[in-house]
Symmetry: C2
């Protein structure tokens, strides 16, 4: 399987490391072999080679901060745009791992549409296109007979989408609600242990969970993007941010936390989606709720189904290998669906 990667940050590098380290195992267990033939980045440059790039050299160049450190090779092209790589028509799948833009989904959205139009499968860790234009992308993928998968966009590699779309295929999913942002869950957990909001936020930033500008996390927007993805993917909704009721955790005080605790409850930032809509809101959960005991930066989701009752999945919501592993899982699912070769 020949791949073009758009973006080569933490997630792209994690995926490349997995391909490097698991090549033999993947070939043996799944008959799966992948070559990265193109990489486009905003800051490090771009590389393309029909016969495949050398993954260790690619990772080393990325660690050096610039693809100019990548050695010359026969057939190597430097500086191509995503459009040029797609137009070359050699890739089987485009892997979108560039940073998420929840306002316009660009420039990723246009690139995704070009790739689908060229008959390439599409795998995303970038939430933007799936959150903002799911229906059009899905229709385009179906028309072209290719697959679009995006396991990494919700709970990293914890297999939320595989669960909903494959494992629960015979059920009707009635609702989904979960803890979909690790940063805010980490802050709330630390506040339970007596830390102030400011202290917990600072610690989350030091650990790399929260960004310097934490607004996207603490105001609920990151979780809201995931609500849109769930609503559109699981319920065929066509919601936009304007349809969601979104609030974060900035109004939760140490006193609120203590009061909830005294009442046998715990505050969690709950993201929920149904066929009718979605919301992100801090809520006091009774301790018997499986989501109440999910601590630290861990994520979790409960899907209510007609046949199986409540199914809860708990796992990592971020991380280099955890998210890179989601890309691999999607590519394996694409290969499975294509049938034995």
């Amino acid at each position: 399987m020949k791949l073009i990667l758009i973006g080569f940050g933490v997630v792209g590098q994690g995926f490349a490391e997995i391909l490097r380290d698991k090549a033999v195992e993947l070939k043996r267990k799944h008959g799966f072999a992948a070559a990265i033939i193109g990489v486009v980045t905003a800051s490090k440059g771009a590389l393309y080679r029909s016969d495949g790039l050398d993954i260790p050299a690619l990772l080393e160049a990325a660690h050096g901060g610039c693809f100019s450190h990548y050695p010359d090779q026969p057939g190597l092209r430097r500086g191509w745009s995503a459009d040029e790589m797609i137009a070359a028509g050699e890739a089987d799948a485009l892997v979108e791992v560039s940073p998420t833009n929840l306002e316009t989904a660009q420039p990723a959205l246009d690139i995704c549409k070009l790739a689908l139009d060229a008959g390439m499968h599409l795998v995303l860790a970038n939430k933007g296109p799936v959150a903002l234009d799911h229906a059009n992308l899905r229709a385009q993928a179906r028309a072209k007979g290719v697959q679009m998968r995006y396991e990494a966009t919700v709970m990293a590699g914890t297999p939320t989408m595989h669960l909903a779309e494959d494992a629960l295929a015979g059920c009707e999913i009635l609702s989904a609600r979960g803890i979909l942002n690790g940063t805010t869950n980490y802050i709330l957990t630390q506040m339970e242990s007596g830390m102030s909001y400011e202290g917990a936020l600072k610690q989350a930033q030091e650990l790399g969970y929260a960004e310097t500008d934490p607004t996207g996390d603490v105001e609920g927007w990151d979780a809201a993007g995931k609500v849109l993805i769930l609503a559109n993917a699981l319920f065929g909704a066509s919601l936009t941010m304007a349809d969601l009721d979104v609030s974060g955790i900035t109004h939760i005080s140490a006193a609120d936390i203590a009061e909830a605790r005294a009442a046998g409850c715990r505050y969690k930032l709950i993201a929920s989606a149904t066929a009718e809509g979605g919301m992100v809101k801090a809520a006091r959960l009774p301790l018997a709720d499986p989501l109440a005991s999910v601590g630290g930066s861990t994520n979790a989701i409960t899907m209510k189904t007609d046949l199986l009752g409540d199914i809860t999945l708990i796992g990592a919501g971020a991380g280099k290998l955890e998210t890179g592993g989601a890309i691999l899982a999607d590519l394996l699912a694409i290969q499975r669906a294509a049938g034995p070769s």
Copy 2:
């Protein structure tokens, strides 16, 4: 898809109800249509009809306790054995939902082998054959190019096997540990609330969780059967009951529970499997362990993976529709793997 059912108790009837109630939805969403062409039971008789049995009439006859209540129809055969139905060569899959025998796996095991040999896919809710002869059945299925699936055998329809085999396909699963017996978890949860072991067991029997002879549950044998299935399916082990260290909850007193509680812990009957072996043993878990907060008859499993860290799945471990839904999920997966028709 033409099906033969071996057994028609709670699980078989639950599956038949789902086929009856979801026929239109399954056809529309998955292009899936199934006919039950044969049913063999130990106590109600047997029915076979190439063009499919009438599901409402089948359920009504079963509720009456005997298939002699099923109306005559053109082409209907009464009293055929499983061997005769398989020999007719018309079924695409055999669905084994007869009661589990963890000592010999018979008579189900011989029937499963006959069906695989005849080129039929195999779906089981019966734990016996998968727990005791997994390696041979898998080899036979592979040689015949058919699938063997058994989602229902561990945690009913909660998609444990789909998770391990499909959703986590790119990972290496290092270990699995969980609460795999609902009866004992219900008893332990009630004891936490101050009930005696005897009182909690009596209540579990009244609610239909525990059988009149509760030995299989409370001594850990039911969970041990599931450990064998996990060990053999996830790790390619060839373990037998003799390889497992198995104990139950009968030695846990109210004082033990109280002492654990005072130490911030909770007793759970933990079933675990690795490539090296498996065990069933009551253990004191710290409350931060996701398994500690799983109460009542609910089941849960944590799989430790190389790429994604710990993944925990929580859901029902028994129930008519919950287990019948697992059969449906397996049949849908078989259809998916066979590719678009």
